[in-house]
Amino acid sequence: MNDVVIKTNQLTRNYLTSHKEAGLLAAMKGLFFKTSEVKHALFPTNLEITRGQIVGLVGSNGAGKTTLLKLLSGLIFPTNGTATVLGYTPWERPNCFLKQISLLLGQKNQLWWDIPAWDSFHLLITIYDLDKSKTLKHVDELATRLNCQHVLKTPLRRLSLGERMKMELIGCLLHSPKILFLDEPTIGLDVVAQTNIRQFILEELKGTDVTIILTSHYMDDIALLADRLLLMSHGAIAYDGTVDDFMSLTPSTKRLIADFTTPLPEELIISPNLKIPVGALSFDHSLSSTELFNVLRIITSKIPIRDLKIEEPDFEDVMRIFLEKESSLHKARNIV
């Protein structure tokens, strides 16, 4: 299961965006004197992904995640560089390539809006040239697994977001693709629906030959599913490794949360950089392991405590710290 299915070499994508000021005069001026700017959505990127990997692609908005996904799925052409996916150049979109991949867009329906998903699946069976009875049996199994058989024959527009997403997922898996691109599959879903989708991917697809590239802003998706983490920042890959190794990158900190029984009567100075103001009812701060014991000792000896919690940083916290650091480094580079 070690063969490389996705390989990129200096893959780059820039967008030319035009600017226009508000107002009629600006609109008239814009007809003849248009100001444009080149946006580097993806800097030259070299990447290799092997068969069966689940790759979590994360980053802040505008980092280049979806651009990378669109390039690898063949939706857009690159500005420079090459890529091969399953041995094909994706943006040439040969049918034999398209029959082996699937793209699920969490923010956009791909099934037909006015007809039931059941009808859409019949249409997809024809489009993908699939065996009808086998595929319908597969649909039935997937719908049972996702607990949505009862809405298969309801027009898509009448379904809730969670039910629609389940139908989209079935539509994506109908032709048993070798590579699945999931762009924010749990966006906008309630907690139960998110868990259902995650569990489904975990139980049905993880550990199989299907390679999955998953983008999500929900860190639970990545933490639970991804074998490999690609963190993107400002059009480039800032981190490429496992989730566990990523967690160990940040300095060991713990979060101390203390609630006081009465408001603090006077300011408490714990250190030159750490003070609790007068009237405070709680204390909430991330501290290094070395600081924690000292701060805990001072607080508990000076203030009557109602509740006390010490929390380990989770994946989301680590991600946030990393992205904030990347963002300030990027700003500093731009100023220089």
């Binding site: 857009i76 052409f77 034999c96 489009i127």
Partner: protein
């Protein structure tokens, strides 16, 4: 129900207009043809083969604008074939469903209608639909380049409406404009098949229409392919 109601209403409107026009003129003939011949001419409207269907063009433009085209780009089917298949299917079903109605109207009011010419007329209708769709496709593909192509599309459709002879028989145009417009492939959308079906023209003029259809089909097909390829190359995956 729309398949039956729309074409019949369309015919009734034209029938009322031309009958009224000829009566108001105070003459039995207009452009050398009687009211009966004009009604026979506009019977072709009921088949809807040459009539424009703005729904598909608007759908194509909207899909490119809002990113719904992504789903079709990443499936092993062609955007062109997907929409043309739907359009051809709709046209054929409408035409077949309207055959009994057109035959009844022609029989009931003794209108000029040569039923034995229907197979050739059908063939020309299908060829024309493919030609016209290629042009629609080329214009719709301009949605890759411009924010709004609806007005361009509407203008194109207005011009075609005149060039096909659907607005009025091309016989009424002055020479030599009449000959130039009949020579264009658009006349195969309405004037040539309607005139042939009603007996206004004979087989020689009818068959010449296939030549202009073939030339126009190749030209618009190449244009559609060119605009589409250029458009897809600059597409940024809207909506994804």
């Amino acid at each position: 129900m729309g398949i039956v109601v729309v074409p019949v209403c369309y015919f009734l409107v034209e029938a009322a207009f031309w009958t009224g026009l000829i009566k108001a003129s105070g003459d039995e003939l207009l452009g050398g043809f009687s009211a009966r011949y004009y009604l026979g001419y506009f019977l072709y409207l009921i088949l809807q083969l040459g009539s424009m269907n703005w729904r598909f063009e608007r759908a194509m433009i909207a899909e490119i604008n809002n990113g719904a085209v992504n789903a079709l780009l990443l499936r092993p089917s062609s955007f062109f074939e997907y929409h043309m298949g739907q359009l051809l299917g709709q046209k054929l079903i409408t035409a077949l469903a309207m055959l009994p109605i057109i035959s009844f109207i022609a029989w009931r009011w003794d209108l000029p209608f040569h039923a034995e010419r229907l197979p050739m007329v059908f063939l020309m209708g299908i060829c024309y639909v493919i030609l016209l769709f290629s042009l629609h496709f080329a214009v719709a593909s301009m949605a890759f380049f411009f924010d709004n192509v609806y007005s361009l599309n509407n203008s194109k459709n207005m011009i075609i409406w005149i060039l096909t002879g659907e607005l009025m028989p091309l016989d009424l145009l002055p020479s030599p404009i009449r000959e130039w417009i009949i020579a264009l492939p658009f006349s195969c959308g309405f004037y040539i098949p309607a005139a042939y079906l009603s007996g206004r023209i004979e087989i020689d003029v009818f068959l010449r229409g296939f030549i202009s259809l073939a030339i126009g089909g190749v030209a618009f097909g190449l244009l559609a392919q060119f605009v589409w390829k250029r458009g897809v190359r600059r597409y940024s995956g809207t909506g994804a």
